[in-house]
Structure formats: structure tokens, C-alpha cells
Amino acid sequence: MAININLDVVMAKRKMSVTELSGQIGLTLANLSILKNNKAKAIRLTTLDSLCRALECQPADILEYVKEN
């Protein structure tokens, strides 16, 4: 897919573990790992909102558009 999710980069910047983040935003570890490994097909705005709030960042820091050849 052309949209990349750089959740691991933002998490590393904030020095936050997956368990900590999942506890803060109320997402299961399985779903968070799907999101982190770029396997998700869609993301709800509410999830994006809670991720941005927990990681204190903008959606653009998490999502990135890469042009495919």
C-alpha cells in the first residue's frame, strides 16, 4: 500500500513501549501490532486521535505517503 504507518519511529522518539501505548489508548496488543507492522487496511479517526494524543504528535508524523512505481 502507498500509505506507510511510521508508528514505531514515533514511539521510539517518545521512548514508549507497545504495552504502555496500548494501555494508554485502550487498544489491544494484537491490533496495535497489526498497525505497527503496516498490515492494517484502514484506521478510524478516533484511533488516530487517541494515538496523536498519547504520542503528542500530528497525524502526518504517523502516516506517510510513498509513491509506488
Binding site: 487498544l27 491490533n31 496495535l32 497489526i34 498497525l35 498490515k39 492494517a40 487496511k41 484502514a42 484506521i43 478510524r44 484511533t47
Partner: protein, 169 residues
Amino acid sequence: MKKKMNSKIDSNRIGKIKVNALRIIVYLVMALTILLMCFMPRYIRSNSFFSSALGYVERSSVIIYMLLCCLPFLFALFVVKRICDLISLGNSFSVTTLSYLTQIVTCCYIEAIINVLALILFPILLNIGFVSLNLLIVGICGAVAVFTTVLKELVKSAIRLREENELTI
């Protein structure tokens, strides 16, 4: 809210009862078919029409044809029973269901081919009753095959939707 939950529990219970009823029907039809497979050869041997019109080899081949007809039907019933098991496990929309539906379609085609071959191979049985029964079976097999193929496409799109829903976070 409570009313909504109650109706959901009720629909689940009704669904389970329906699946169990279907399973019982499948077992009954399987038992009937096996009984038919046991008693049909004896009936054909003792029947006056078959013993007068057909020789030993022809009679045996008619018996083999009838037993062969039962086999795909029994296998399809067994597959339906497996689909019922999958539904009761709550895993109805999976790739396994697709392969089971493909097996049912194949069984339908095999049954139709056996019946068409019987029309060609047993010219001595070509009377109105036998031909109409044979054509009826071929027609039913074709209809079941078409419906099952449509169902397969529906299950395929349902699997795609379910996957998309599961991967929406």
C-alpha cells in the same frame, strides 16, 4: 439496549437450533441413502422386470450404476455436515467453507455425468419413466451446482468484507 441484547441472544439461539435441525436432517438422509444402498441390489435381483429384461451382467451394471449414483450424494451430505460444524463453531466465513462448496459443486457435476452416461450405456432401460427420472436428476444437479456457485461467490465477498473489517483499527 437490554432489549437489543436480548433479541441478539434470541437470534443466536434460533441460529443454533436451525443448524442442529439441519444436522439431524443430514444424518437422517445419510442413513436413508445407506439403507437404500444396502437394499437396492436385493430389490433389483428379485424384481421380475429386471430379471426378465436384463441378463446377469446388465443387472450387475445397473446395480453398480445405482451405487455409484449414491456415492457423490453421500459425500455432498458429509460436506454439508462439515459446513454445519463450521457454522456452529462460528467460523462460517472462512476459506475452508469455500473449498467445501467447491466440493459440493464437483459432486453435482459428477452426479449429472453419471446419469447422462447411464442414459447412453443402458439402452435397454430407455423407457419414459427412466429417461424422465434421469433428466430430472440431471436438472436438479445442474440447479444445485448453479446455486452453490452463486453461494460460493457470496461467501467469497463476505470473507473479503470480514477481512477488511478485522483489519480496520
